[in-house]
């Protein structure tokens, strides 16, 4: 119960208290430029109820009056919401003691139980004989000034820099300066087109507020018309077209000498409107090209940039869309930065890059982020690693190119469940030819090959002739060897013929020893062998090829007598007969032996 009560009290209190209690504070307002003999106001404004005001000490100024305090209380209802403003203003009227730059000292006050400090304000005092108007509206209303001229007007375009590199931001401020002029309006305003620049308005105030400014020792009322941010798009000398404005000035009529009626005075205020054209000078900006040697991954960024790279999804499936998001943040010509080139793994289908800007133009150029989104669809599963994304930009402070690089980006592509349906479709899969991703020279040879002296080649070198000679030598050697083998073979036949008698005699001797032992059959056998062997050796024919006709022919060729041949055949017949019949007596066998000796002796002749 007690708790609810305290809540109700708090609610009531909140209704009663000023709503802008949070904005409580103390501030100081003073003109920025005054002339030496000018009396000017300095106001300390406290928002909230002030319990006590601690006066400041003005050392450099004469206090002509003050402090005078005034309070203001306003209550607003906007859309049913109530807002209340309560302000207490302490006003001093001061005059400067000498020219120069001074500081309006800080005052403090106890605002709603808290001691607040106002802070200081710098003020410039110029030695000007003329009493400037604090504002043109005042002048037009006071109207009693003695001069009839239209006053001075200037239109100025001020650039933060006139010598920049391409892409470096320039702040251009268009200001109207007026002195002793009562401006009632503008006509036909032409703002510069800024050809050769990318321009953006930073400030375009709806209400034109004049503030005092010291221009070359003179106090002018200056009004900010426009503030632009310019980014040079081309190098070289770029001139900015003049801005033009036609001011409508209130000038006191000079024709007052004429006879004036009371009605004239009543209807004619004594002022007439004069049109005055003011224009800025032509300004040249010297834009230097970016230094040579830009890295390959430079895409036009100038300023102070950062880059983050991420994938829209950590894991993907084949045939599922994903995207790589590259965010470039920082200050500089963000709107001019092109997308960095990214090498996607093969078999990734890559679509058009999407750009998203979140860029604010400010005094230091564009700041914010520019996001590039690279949509892609992996067409096959696997673990891929994309090469690091690199982006180079020109750093104005360092005066050189800096390189931003991400880490290698791993992409895991899982097999899609629908693989069977999508890949093994009817009619088979779509065959694709092996694409060439790029062309490059082949790698160096790792083996030295045959290093040799220049002019040194194998053909017609001694080595070649030596090899050719070796071949000839081999040919000759083969010829010689084969020839020798042939003669040796011929010698074998002759030797056999020469040894024929010796062999036959040995066999006959053996047969004779069989005869002595009384082995009749073995004797006949050996005798027959001796005869056949002798004939075969003599005629150098194989014993298997022996037949009577060949023997007869060959022996006749050799010049043997007919009787000897007949004797041989008769003996051979006897031997063949004796092999299948009883051998007969010792004497018969002995006569056969004697006949054989005689036949061999006859054939030998």
């Amino acid at each position: 119960m007690k708790r609810i009560g305290s809540l109700i009290i708090a609610f009531a209190a909140s209704l009663l208290l000023p709503l802008n209690a949070a904005a409580q504070g103390l501030r100081v307002e003073a003109p920025t430029v005054v002339s030496l003999d000018e009396a000017f106001n300095v106001q300390y404004i406290a928002s909230g109820k002030v319990k006590e005001f601690f006066k400041p000490e003005f050392e450099d100024f004469h206090v002509l009056a003050g402090p005078t305090s005034s309070t203001m209380n306003s209550i607003q209802f906007v859309n049913g919401k109530r807002s209340q403003t309560y302000e207490v203003t302490y006003t001093y009227v001061l005059q400067a003691k000498s020219t120069g730059k001074f500081t309006i000292p800080s005052a403090s006050a106890d605002v709603a139980g808290k001691v607040q400090s106002s802070g200081t304000r710098s003020i410039e005092v110029v030695a000007s004989g003329q009493q400037p108007q604090s504002s043109p509206s005042q002048e037009s209303s006071s109207g009693g000034s003695s001069y009839a001229s239209a006053g001075e007007l200037m239109l100025k375009l001020q650039l933060s820099k006139t010598s920049v590199v391409k892409g470096e931001p320039i702040i251009a401020t268009l200001k109207l300066y007026a002195r002793n002029a009562a401006i009632s309006g503008f006509e036909d305003v032409t703002f510069p087109t800024f050809e050769g620049f990318w321009s953006q308005e930073i400030e375009a105030p709806q209400n034109i507020n004049f503030e005092r400014e010291n221009v070359g020792g003179q106090i002018y009322d200056a009004a900010l018309l426009r503030r632009y941010m310019l980014l040079p798009q081309q190098s070289g000398q770029i001139s900015i077209d003049p801005a033009e404005i036609i001011c409508l000035l209130q000038v006191r009529a000079q024709n007052s000498q004429r006879g004036r009626s009371i009605f004239d005075d009543f209807f004619d205020s004594g002022y007439q409107t004069v049109r005055r054209r003011v224009a800025t000078d032509k300004i040249n900006v010297n834009v230097r090209a970016l230094p040579d040697g830009a890295p390959a991954d430079f895409t036009g960024g100038v300023g102070d940039l950062n880059m983050t790279v991420r994938l829209s999804k950590d894991s993907l499936k084949a045939h599922e869309a994903g995207s790589l998001i590259v965010t470039i943040s920082g200050t500089g010509n963000l709107s001019m930065v092109d997308a960095p080139k990214i090498n996607f793994p093969p078999d990734f289908e890559v679509y058009d890059i999407k750009k998203t800007d979140n860029v604010k133009a400010g005094r230091s150029g564009l700041s914010g982020t520019r996001t590039f989104e690279y949509p892609f669809i992996p067409r096959s599963a696997g673990d891929f690693t994309m090469e690091p994304v690199t982006l180079s930009y020109y750093n104005i402070k360092g005066g050189r190119y800096l390189k931003l690089s991400s880490d290698p980006i791993p992409v895991k592509v899982a097999r899609s469940e629908g693989t069977d349906a999508s890949v093994f479709k009817e009619g088979g899969i779509n065959k694709q030819s092996v694409r060439s991703l790029g062309e490059d020279i082949r790698y160096i040879s790792t083996s030295a090959g045959r290093l040799r002296r220049s002019g040194d080649s194998f053909v017609s070198s001694p080595w070649m002739w030596i090899t050719a000679m070796l071949i000839v030598a081999a040919y000759v050697a083969v010829r010689l060897i084969v020839g020798k083998v042939e003669t040796r073979r011929a010698d074998v036949a002759g030797g056999r013929r020469r040894k024929a008698l010796k062999v036959a005699k040995a066999r006959l001797k053996k047969a004779n020893s069989y005869l002595a032992q009384g082995l009749g059959t073995a004797f006949i056998e050996e005798l027959h062998k001796a005869l056949i062997g002798y004939v075969a050796d003599k005629l150098t024919i194989a014993p298997a090829d022996l037949d009577r006709d060949t023997i007869r022919e060959k022996l006749l060729e050799r010049g043997s007598s007919q009787e000897a041949i007949e004797g041989l055949f008769a003996l051979l017949d006897e031997c063949e007969y004796a092999r299948y019949a009883p051998p007969g007596t010792h004497e018969a066998l002995d006569s056969k032996y004697q006949t054989a000796l005689k036949v061999i002796a006859d054939l030998e002749d």
Binding site: S445, A448, V459
Partner: protein, 252 residues
């Protein structure tokens, strides 16, 4: 006698040391190239070339180094051409030369050639001079074998066949020898050049003040016909002729 032996030993060790030096240079250069130190690799390869040693692979690697260092297109073309002179059947060098040629500025129409001449050249270029020489020796050996067969063959038709084969092999031997000699003559001939300076103008006569005929760019291959002092008379593959300064080109 001892003195002679000492001298011979000294000469042999000098050769061995030099060979070893070239080998270690080569391995170091390949290592540097694989690590991306193209400049270092190139210096080592050029040091091997500076020892008056040459091989198609060496020229090919130097060409690769020049290509990789960028801005030396003319040199790269020059060394690929040299590698092909050394070994016309070097496929890698031919492939890299065609890639390097894509970046040369000058596009020159070649005069069409009789097809048999092209065939003959392509046949000759399918092997190096040394390989042709070995072919000639092999055919020579086959002639010898055929003759032996002819001499000692047992059957008449085989002997006839061996004799005709001996004639065929003899012809092959001579044409291989011819190919080998022609290939060597081609390799030794100083009739080709490559434009080395980025741009050079070809003038109508040697000396200053001559009429400029046409402008050539780095990497263009020329035929050298004649030379006079600091000037070379050159011919383009489309038949145009002119004179240019020796410093702008390098003989292959």
């Amino acid at each position: 006698m001892k003195k002679y032996i000492a001298i011979i030993v000294l000469v042999f060790t000098a050769f061995a040391l030099r060979a070893q030096d070239a080998d270690s240079l080569w391995n170091g250069a390949v290592q540097k190239y694989s690590e991306g130190d193209i400049q270092g690799a190139m210096e080592d390869f050029l040091a091997i070339e500076g020892q008056d040693l040459r091989s198609a692979e060496l020229f090919y690697n130097i060409g690769n180094c020049y290509y990789r260092s960028g801005g030396y297109l003319g040199k790269a073309v020059l060394y690929y051409e040299r590698a092909l002179r050394e070994d016309p059947s070097f496929k890698d060098a031919a492939a890299n030369l065609s890639i390097a040629r894509q970046y040369t500025l000058d596009k020159i129409e070649t005069v069409p050639e009789f097809v048999l001449v092209t065939w003959a050249r392509e046949l000759r270029h399918s092997f190096s001079s040394d390989t042709w020489a070995w072919f000639a020796l092999a055919f020579f050996a086959l002639v010898a074998v055929s003759l032996l067969w002819f001499r000692y063959g047992r059957r008449m038709w085989l002997r006839k066949f061996a004799f005709s084969m001996a004639i065929v092999f003899g012809l092959c031997c001579f044409s291989s020898l011819g190919m080998s000699l022609a290939a060597r003559a081609e390799a030794v001939a100083e009739d080709g050049a490559v434009v080395i300076s980025p741009v050079t103008s070809v003038v109508s006569s040697p000396g200053t003040g001559a009429q400029a005929l046409f402008v050539l760019h780095e990497g263009t291959v020329l035929e050298v016909i004649d030379s006079l002092g600091q000037w070379y008379r050159v011919q383009l593959s489309d038949g145009r002729q002119g004179w240019l300064l020796a410093k702008d080109i390098e003989i292959i």
